[in-house]
């Protein structure tokens, strides 16, 4: 917002239990200011607010994350609440039944918290360290590439094509993740590369 106080900005000021004087400064009459001063402090006043975008559909509603702790200040941040961003032109603060329950996804019991490995024939996952998992992947990629990369076709044209390793990319990640992924995947010669746009 450039000129006017935004809808969000207004709610934040009015809701966060600011002193009567500043309410006066905002153009409230005394009676209203006195009334506002009685209102209990807004529960989320002590949280850190972060602008984000709903991760589900491509309406891409603006949302605000409320967390305890400030990531930007190097603190741990625990997500407490998510609500629609009233300043967002598309959703103007509203959310659908999916967006309204976003926190329940972030904090789902079935969120993954550590790398896991399943051995051939096993009926369970077992824990594995990041280092071990990543080394295993790098080894497998290199071995497969060294064994199966088609460097040149029958005509001798360099084709750098690897068809025995494939990659499906995520359509809820960012453009930046996408670009980092693109670079790594294509530099290996992988041609079987898609995202959810195919389904």
């Amino acid at each position: 917002m450039n000129i006017d106080l935004s809808r969000r900005g207004f709610m934040k000021l009015a809701g966060a239990g600011v002193a009567t004087t500043s309410l006066g400064a905002m153009g409230f009459h005394e009676a209203e200011a006195a009334e506002a001063a009685h209102v209990r402090d807004f529960k989320l006043a002590t949280t850190t607010e972060t602008r984000n975008i709903c991760t589900y559909c491509s309406v891409a509603c603006g949302i605000i994350l409320y967390s305890k702790g400030d990531l930007a200040a190097g603190e741990k941040a625990e997500l407490l609440h998510i609500e629609g961003d009233a300043d967002h032109p598309t959703n103007r603060g509203t959310l659908c039944p999916k967006g309204a329950a976003l926190k329940s996804y972030v904090r789902a019991e079935t969120r993954l918290t550590r790398p896991r490995y399943r051995a051939p024939g096993a009926d369970k996952f077992q824990d594995i360290s990041w280092d071990e998992a990543l080394d295993k992947i790098a080894r497998a990629v290199k071995d497969d590439r060294d064994a199966n990369l088609i460097e040149r076709n029958a005509e001798g044209v360099p084709v750098n094509r690897l068809t025995t390793t494939g990659f499906l990319a995520a359509s809820a990640t960012t453009n930046e993740t996408a670009w980092a992924t693109w670079k790594v995947v294509r530099s290996l010669g992988i041609v079987g590369f898609d995202n959810q746009a195919r389904v």
Partner: protein
């Protein structure tokens, strides 16, 4: 979307066909409500089910799944017959007057050049007549028998209202009423928007469904205008971005294409791109292809890309077939031809058709790597869950690594909405446990593979060793670093081509637009359509000024919209041949005598004379195409094709099964079902309470829609002895599922080709992981065949059977 969510408020008529926006895109659908409320706009819904969008529509008509082309060609026929054509638009902004080769034709549902053996067309005849000057021959009088107008008229002639009723099951009076409503928007001051989604794409001829509507919109003059357009309501929050950045088997970033092995060097690759104009004065913007391509290669390989080595062309993978799309990869897996497969946030076991085949495919991998914030069925495809995943774990030898990733709340970067807005977001929570960002994981894999090549040597190490990776922390590039790379910068000081003393941009500065890109290696930029997103002014994707001075829903200073911050594509077409807006009450841009200006960024060179330069600047014609030449594999006009599994034969050609050029693997042909054994049409859909297979992990959403069900009509329930809420078994030639039966008035039997056709609706949201009850999805049942052009599976129309099932069996 050609337009944006907020632009929908400018419309007079919304047609939702091939989607269900009220259900699947609720907050975007609010703009339909806005248009209805404030402009008096009307809403038409055409769908097999009386769905949530239909419940708030002004007019609804049912349609048989998979018959949309007949409906749309019927609508075009009606517009032509009743002269509901925006003539000034059509004459000047489409290829209606262009002459087509004499040997092009259509007969018995097929175009000229079909080769049954190859299941493809020889497209030679699908082309314009080109004059000696290299330009297309035209007939402005539209009397020449070979002009597109007359070919189109002849092509749609068969799609009479009776034909439509017979094939689509849409009652004739409803079809005609809809034609009348649509026809009103042929006025230059009335417009219609098309909102569609997977209901149109998930067919073996999905691309042609969409083309059908695009052609109708062109005839009405509704493309490029505020409140108009073709609006694909995309699914995932960044499916647009992932496609823009080229994470597709046949793409490079910015819709540049992957090289083929028949293009052995850079010069050959370039020779078939960078189209020369087909009409005088046209921009044919892809003439700049080389600038975008070289800038991309500079981002990819850095200093290692030089003019001498074709900008590192040899290091790019080269295709030997059109594409290694996901379904082809799964087919190859079943044959033991794939060893290693990564699923990054993609629950493939539930997303692709013929789940039995998917399980078989994954069981033949050596190693599967899954990166996801959540437990997924894919990562656990080897786990036995009774009827919900009936596998023998011990027999599956695939190793699986499941890596925990961050989700949106814990990472930073941009996602692209359906209307092409790149919106930046920030992290507001600490990742749980040891979860890591996908960027970190990809960087780790890259660093480790790179180290192995540096230490051990190996096959073709150059592309790996030469990849540009000069991030401050190579172990974890930041979002800002990657975004700046996508935008591009000046690698040398850039001087004005016309005045070499004038500096355009100093060395090292971020480009401000793709117009600054060069093909001599002096600029970088990984994704040209994004240039402008992160300039010397800073991160434009993070802009949050929600002012809209024009009142047109443009929001020019909110985030960044590709390309060039333009909000409505083809907006030059919102004005007449003199550059005056068709509708003076809805102005996006206009010609002021010297240049184009207005609330939106003009989609044309700002000084382009309106009488000379056509609005469709990406096309060498400068116009849009009612006849699409060789650009689609299944024909230059849409023609009615039945689904591969259909309750009726194709009336145009009873011998034809499905789309005659859609790819079918041998084993899958044997798994197609027949209408005698599988008499009912199944169609998949989504629910407003759930997002794909994610929200079943949420307690809240799992409570609101806890259990898998299928939806059937009262008539079908009576016919099969199925009671409301009873348990049913649904099976196809590929698999079976058990579900609760929702018996409803929302689906009614249709009459097609003299028979009663029952439709069964199957929502997609259940599996065997998460907080909701275990269940199934339509992908257990669907056929393993995709769209002939882009390989999107045919989930919206296939055949099944249904019967009551006993309750206790699990």
């Amino acid at each position: 979307m050609t337009n944006s969510w907020t632009d929908i408020k400018n419309t007079d008529l919304v047609v939702i066909m091939g989607g269900n926006a009220a259900e699947a895109h609720p907050c975007g659908f609010k703009w339909v409500t806005e248009a209805k409320h404030h402009r008096g706009a009307k809403l038409i819904v055409v769908d097999p089910r009386f769905n949530r969008s239909a419940s708030v529509a002004d007019y609804y008509a049912p349609i048989r799944p998979g018959s949309d082309i007949a409906f749309l060609m019927g609508a075009i026929r009606w517009m032509i017959a009743n002269d509901k054509i925006q003539w000034d638009y059509v004459r000047n902004y489409t290829n209606v007057s262009y002459l087509v080769r004499d040997d092009f034709g259509w007969q018995d549902g097929m175009f000229t050049g079909y080769d049954e053996e190859k299941r493809s067309y020889d497209q030679t005849s699908w082309e314009y007549q080109i004059g000696e000057d290299g330009y297309v021959l035209t007939d402005e009088t539209l009397t020449h028998p070979r002009c597109v107008w007359n070919l189109l008229k002849a092509h749609v002639d068969i799609y009479t209202p009776e034909f439509v009723e017979n094939v689509c099951g849409t009652p004739k009076d409803r079809f005609l009423k809809i034609c009348e409503m649509i026809g009103e928007t042929s006025s230059p001051t009335k417009t219609m928007t098309s909102m569609y989604a997977l209901g149109w794409t998930q067919h073996s001829k999905g691309s042609q469904n969409i083309r059908g509507m695009a052609m109708l919109q062109l005839l009405l003059g509704n493309i490029g205008v505020p409140g108009g357009g073709m609006n694909a309501l995309r699914g995932h929050s960044n499916i647009q971005g992932l496609t823009d950045v080229g994470l597709m088997s046949n793409l490079l970033p910015g819709y540049l294409s992957m090289p083929r092995e028949t293009e052995p060097d850079f010069a050959t690759y370039m020779s078939s791109r960078g189209n020369k104009p087909l009409r005088p004065n046209q921009m044919s913007y892809w003439q700049n292809y080389g600038k975008f391509m070289v800038s991309f290669m500079k981002s990819l390989w850095g200093d290692k890309a030089t003019a001498g080595n074709g900008w590192g062309y040899d290091w790019l993978p080269k295709l030997d077939i059109p594409q290694y799309d996901a379904m082809r990869m799964f087919e190859m897996m079943t044959k033991g031809e794939v060893n290693l497969y990564f699923c990054q946030g993609f629950n493939a076991l539930l997303s692709f058709p013929n789940r039995g085949k998917m399980t078989e495919a994954f069981s033949k991998l050596k190693l599967m790597v899954v990166m996801d914030p959540l437990e997924t069925e894919t990562a656990s495809f080897w786990e036995n869950h009774g009827i919900h995943n009936d596998v023998d774990s011990a027999a599956i030898r695939t190793e699986v690594l499941e890596l925990p990733t961050t989700c949106f709340a814990e990472d930073e970067g941009a996602t692209v909405n359906s209307g092409r807005w790149l919106q930046w977001h920030w992290a507001g929570a600490t990742p749980p446990g040891e979860a890591k960002s996908d960027v970190w994981i990809m960087a780790q894999i890259y660093q480790r593979v790179r180290r192995l090549y540096a230490e051990e040597g190996g096959k073709a190490p150059e592309p790996i060793l030469n990849l540009a990776w000069d991030y401050e922390d190579p172990e974890e590039p930041t979002a800002a670093e990657l975004a700046r790379e996508l935008n591009g910068r000046a690698l040398e000081t850039l001087y004005d081509a016309a005045d070499p003393t004038k500096v355009v941009l100093e060395k090292g500065k971020q480009l401000s637009g793709f117009g600054q890109m060069r093909d001599d290696g002096t600029t970088s930029g990984a994704c040209w359509i994004y240039t402008g997103c992160f300039t010397e002014d800073g991160n434009n994707m993070a802009r949050r000024d929600n002012a809209d001075p024009s009142g047109m829903g443009v929001y020019q200073n909110w985030s960044f919209s590709w390309p060039a911050n333009r909000r409505v594509l083809y907006n030059r077409a919102s004005c007449d041949l003199d550059g005056k807006p068709w509708d003076p009450s809805r102005v996006l841009i206009e010609w002021n005598g010297e240049k184009w200006a207005g609330a939106d960024i003009p989609d044309i060179a700002v000084t382009a004379n309106p009488r000379e330069v056509g609005p469709f600047i990406m096309n060498p014609e400068g116009t849009s195409r009612l006849f699409s030449r060789k650009l689609m594999r299944d024909g230059p006009f849409p023609t009615h094709m039945e689904p591969f599994e259909s309750p009726i034969a194709n009336p145009l050609n009873p011998e034809m099964r499905g789309n005659p050029v859609a790819r079918m693997f041998q084993g899958d042909v044997a798994q197609l079902g027949d209408r005698t054994e599988f008499p009912f049409v199944a169609t998949s859909y989504r629910l407003t309470e759930h997002f794909h297979y994610w929200t079943k992990h949420n307690h809240v959403n799992a409570v609101t829609q806890p259990e898998f069900f299928v939806e059937i009509s009262e008539e079908l329930a009576a016919e099969r002895g199925i009671r409301k809420g009873g348990r049913v078994r649904v099976w196809s030639a590929r698999g079976q599922v058990w579900a609760k039966a929702v018996v409803t008035k929302r689906i009614r039997p249709l009459t097609c080709d003299g028979q009663t056709v029952h439709v069964i609706g199957i929502p997609i949201h259940w599996g065997f992981k998460g907080a909701a009850r275990k269940g199934f999805g339509p992908n257990t049942l669907g056929p393993f065949v995709g769209d002939a052009n882009i390989e999107t599976p045919e989930f919206k129309a296939f055949l099944v059977n249904i019967e009551p099932a006993s309750e206790g069996v699990a």
